[in-house]
Amino acid sequence: MPGQMSRARRNPVTVAAMHGALIIYTLIALFPVFVILINSFKTRKAIFREPLALPNAETFSTIGYQTVFQQGDFILYLQNSLIVTVASLFFILLFGAMAAFALAEYRFRGNMLMGLYLALGIMIPIRIGTVAILEMMVATGLVNTLWALILVYTAQGLPLAVFILSEFMRQVSDDLKNAGRVDGLSEYTIFFRLVLPLVRPAMATVAVFNMIPIWNDLWFPLILAPAEETKTLTLGSQVFIGQFVTDWNAVLSALSMAILPVMVLYVIFSRQLIRGLTSGAVK
């Protein structure tokens, strides 16, 4: 009988085994992060003597964080990362949504071709063109400015953004837009006032997809903006750790400080991210 069988699948041993496997993997996933975080608050001696113990009154120390704050300009790096990420996301969403609207809404010659042209970049990584990108940035004087990074990340994010957003914009009802046209609204007003608010969930998905790779990128900051004033947090921590490699307190603290902002972003956006990944937006 079917009922019996499905009950059999849920017997306590199976359930316990499933939780066992998931707990083991969760531990594997979190273990390195956990070790870094707890040891960043310990004295050097305690780090080596008992790496797996939590800090206590005797072993607690913030010496690593003091080194990080004295030697590295982490506030500046954090600020650079924030500017680059927020500005890139803004341009990806604005330009991406505008292009997606044009492709989804209007019939014109070359519509298909334009869609294909913009979709090329989904599969081809922008890094392949790095040599010429660097030459262009040197020629235009944009090297070692945050604009170089913002432009590259915007170009990198646009193809997928246009693709996802135009899928969603095709679903917006024509009646609504035509009612707007009858009322004499311009095409711009229709886009900004009527359509954009309706595709907000899709915009959030695009934003979350792009946010993490931009924030974590090491390649372009290293090549286009390695100057001290333009270092992003990812590059800044890489360089800092490279210099302080024998100072374990400083290294562990720098790593913890690099983990913190991403974790904050993740806590805020994890539902959106997982919903985006599982909603078929990337099929």
Binding site: M98, V131, A132, V152, N216, I241
Partner: protein, 308 residues
């Protein structure tokens, strides 16, 4: 041309909507891409850029000083990809199958936790594992000691034979969240009626998984494979963060991304050579293009898709 026609017909707004995206995308992505392919055909003599045809490629594939590094990086890159396919997909499918089980408690918690490594930067991941596996700190040896396997420990990242595989496994650890999510999503779309119908035929548990669920998630596995392929063949950050630009020990973990970086940007005493760098980038472009074409025309069209 294209925009001109639209303007002539009084459809300015289409131009305004399209222009920013098309301009930025063309200027920063497409033009540099083709310029890089073009630069591969030039070289620099006495600060003059001169056209040399396919000479750079002959050097890259034929001159032992270059070709040894290139084939080494390419071979390593394929091994890197092979480990991903071999380890990441089975683990991803297994975890997704567990997570998609109906009425599993704490599923949301497991899901969020398993995804955490994926959001961390390569710098954090590379250094964190370097510390955990470090023979100086001794976390890995003492944990192996606790289960009586201390003799198995070796400084994996420092040994030529194991560095690349260890890095590939670290990369799998970082990215397994993506296959988990995509396969989990695919499993959720399988209608209950199909599984119930199978149950009445006596197909349950593992055999239901092999005979029903796995064929239905094949398209997702295809997408994950091509995403992994493209990601692996322009990977750079993890190796650079963990092993440096020289991709040690003795280039044992050198892949195309690190080889490209050293060649065109220069490193230590080696001067940067944008033209040879472009040649390597062109080779990477060709490999990725072949992979994407195999997927689009060879695999994607053959996988049977089911509509519910």
């Amino acid at each position: 041309m294209f925009f001109g026609q639209l303007v002539l017909r009084g459809r300015w707004h289409i131009v305004v909507f399209l222009a920013p995206a098309v301009l930025v995308y063309t200027a920063v992505m497409i033009v540099p891409l083709f310029n890089t392919l073009r630069l591969a055909l030039f070289t620099e003599v006495d600060q003059q850029r001169i056209f040399v045809g396919v000479q750079n490629f002959r050097t890259l594939f034929g001159d032992p000083r270059w070709s040894e590094s290139f084939w080494n990086a390419l071979g390593n890159n394929f091994w890197f990809f092979f480990i991903h396919m071999l380890v990441q997909n089975p683990i991803g499918i297994f975890l997704a199958a567990l997570l998609s089980h109906p009425r599993l408690r704490f599923a949301a918690f497991y899901r969020s936790a398993i995804f955490i490594p994926t959001i961390l930067s390569f710098v954090i991941v590379g250094f964190a594992w370097k510390l955990v596996l470090s023979p100086i700190w001794g976390i890995a040896p003492s944990m192996l000691d606790a289960v009586g396997l201390k003799s198995l420990f070796a400084p994996w990242l420092g040994k030529e034979g194991s560095a690349l595989t260890t890095l590939a496994l670290i990369s799998v650890w970082q990215f397994v969240g993506i296959p988990v999510m995509l396969i989990y999503a695919a499993l959720l779309t399988i209608p209950d009626e199909i599984l119930e119908a199978a149950e009445t035929e006596g197909i349950t548990g593992l055999s239901a998984f092999w005979k029903i669920k796995l064929p239905l998630i094949l398209p997702s596995i295809g997408i994950i494979s091509i995403l992994t392929f493209v990601g692996n063949f322009n990977a750079f950050d993890l190796i650079y963060a963990a092993q440096g630009a020289l991709a040690g020990p003795d280039f044992a973990s050198d892949i195309l991304g690190t080889f490209l970086y050293r060649t065109f940007f220069g490193f230590q005493l080696q001067l940067g050579d944008p033209h040879m760098g472009s040649a390597i980038a062109t080779a990477m472009f060709a490999i990725i293009l072949v992979g994407v074409c195999i997927y689009l025309f060879g695999i994607q069209t053959r996988i049977r898709r089911y509509q519910f």
